[in-house]
Amino acid sequence: MDLSSLIECFGDPGCLINQTTSALIFAMLLFLIASGLSLIFGVLGVMNFAHGSLYMLGAYLTYTLYVGTSSFSLAIILGCLGMGVFGVFFERVFFKPIYTMHILYQLLLTYAFILILDDVAKLIWGYEFITMGAPDAFQRPPLELAGSFIPTYYIFVIAVGIMVAVLLWMFLRKTKYGKLIRATAHSSEMVMALGKNTSVVYAGVFGLGAMLAGLGGALAAPIRSIFPGMGSDVVIDCFIVVVVGGMGSIPGAFLAAILIGFMRAFGIIGFPMVEEALIFILMAVVLIVRPQGFFGRAET
């Protein structure tokens, strides 16, 4: 425990800005991945352990596309679309049969895909850690703020994160498709009885979730090292976000991701030994006190 350096950091604008930036970066990546996970859980009712692996595939795919096309924007767009297509395929082939199964089989099947996708990544991209570096478009002097420097790429990531959060929220609230998704989450039998094809909704939601995870991976590729297994730590953080924010809730996921980002970034200064434990304790406390999370509906 090192509270004095935490207080010191709060008094120093440089440290404050540094930690805030890293908190927000972490939070935005986490939000992108976790929002997809939350959506999939909300609608399909399956906790997808393999979601972190979709993030990993997104990062690898973006890296390969960037090396191939040397255009980062093209790589991000194609990477996301690629993950979306993969998601739809994945849902139709492997997820569809397990909806009616025991929760044990669901957890285990998605776990099996962590092992499989990690090994597929090893087969295609090898065992080495890959560092991509900031794309050319962002090779410019960092922004200076109160004596500390924020790389332009960081600002880009934070902006994209907030933009996606707003778009996703509006999509689910305001559009016809969004309403269909929410209706399916509420009662798929009712939606089916009204003559809508819920299979398409399921596949679409999984595709959207995979796309969001892919976007998370694409944005993470330049600032994180890419390696097989990079998904399994992330997916646990995402579980925390989903549980704390409320399963199926996008605003909940956004706020929970920011909360966890800040807990990480400042916890590492104030409580360097237990900062990781703190977020699990948060998860446990939320589960015990309010299992549906901050923004979730109570179980009916």
Partner: protein, 316 residues
């Protein structure tokens, strides 16, 4: 009875056919088999899907290893402490977890699993942190050879399995199954559902801890990997693949898991692909554990077989 014969034949086999590789493999299988069986008390018999069982494996492994390495006591004392510590851990964790149902229960056990993992990683003085508890664990003379340790494992595992079997066949076990099938009905019949769930959670924790202790002594060290969340998926694999409706299903699952890994790692580094592939095939095609499959097949063949007792519970 059959258990004693099986255990004795394993011990005899280790003398007749003394292959270090096989003895080691069977030691691992038995340890993981006990681990998976302890989880199955929750999953198969009571219908509680825990995704944090590796936490107790870790508690057991580190308790026994630390006690033997730092305080050089007897093996019996080490196991006694292991039982006490795992029971305390399970009592604390269980009393929170049993309040929740299905996916929330799984998530909360996962959270506690990770808290234990972080404690192990951070408490460097006691556990060795990231590195694991290295430097060997002193064992008394009578356990120093691999075969002696194998025999010790056979005895401990067999005794534990007999206790588990007696419990699940007792009236207590019957009530667990009632809770699994319909907790609300059990409650309305006057059964104190939460107390039963807590007791079986502690039992599962204790046997999980014992299997962890057996593991750390067998490889002479304890590593943080033991209680990483992904480790919790291993006994679930064994329970599902072996069969959760048969008492020995998880043990069979452990054998399949360990043999698959032992042989696939000889040829390739990509064992995850093989294990994952087998899992996907079993879940999507067979849809039940192998032991359950065999038992149902046998039951279907015999005219007056207890078909209904063996049919898997309805899912959905």
């Amino acid at each position: 009875m059959w258990g004693i014969i099986f255990a004795a034949s394993l011990i005899i086999l280790s003398f007749v056919y003394p292959s270090e590789f096989l003895i080691n493999l069977f030691t691992q299988i038995l340890i993981m088999g006990l681990f998976a069986t302890s989880l199955n008390l929750l999953v198969g018999y009571t219908g509680m899907v825990s995704f944090g069982h590796a936490g107790f494996f870790g508690v057991g492994a580190y308790t026994a290893a630390v006690i033997l390495q730092k305080y050089s006591t007897s093996v019996g004392f080490a196991f006694g402490t292991t039982i006490v510590f795992s029971a305390i851990a399970a009592l604390i964790i269980g009393s929170f977890c049993i309040r929740l149902g299905s996916i929330y229960f799984a998530m909360l056990t996962l959270a506690f699993n990770q808290i234990i993992y972080i404690i192990v990683i951070r408490w460097t003085d006691m556990t060795g942190g990231d590195q694991g508890l290295i430097g060997g664990i002193p064992l008394p003379g009578f356990l120093s050879t691999q075969r002696a340790y194998f025999i010790f494992t056979v005895i401990v595992v067999a005794a534990s399995l007999v206790i588990c079997k007696l419990v699940v066949d007792s009236p207590f076990g019957a009530i667990l199954k009632v809770i699994r099938e319909n907790a609300d009905r059990a409650y309305s019949l006057g059964i104190r559902v939460k107390s039963y769930q807590l007791i079986v959670f502690v039992m599962a924790g204790i046997f999980g801890g014992i299997s962890g202790a057996l593991m750390s002594l067998s490889i002479s060290g304890a590593y943080p990997d033991f209680c990483y969340w992904a480790k919790s998926a291993e006994p679930i694999f064994m329970v599902v693949v072996g069969g959760m409706n048969s008492f020995l299903g998880p043990l069979l699952g452990a054998a399949i898991f360990k043999i698959l890994i032992a042989y696939s790692t000889m040829y390739t580094n990509l064992w995850g692909l093989i294990i994952g592939g087998v899992l996907v095939l079993i879940i999507l095609l067979v849809r039940k554990g192998l032991a359950d499959y065999v038992m149902e097949f046998v039951a279907a063949r015999s005219v007056d077989g207890p078909k209904n007792l063996l049919s898997p519970k309805k899912t959905g």
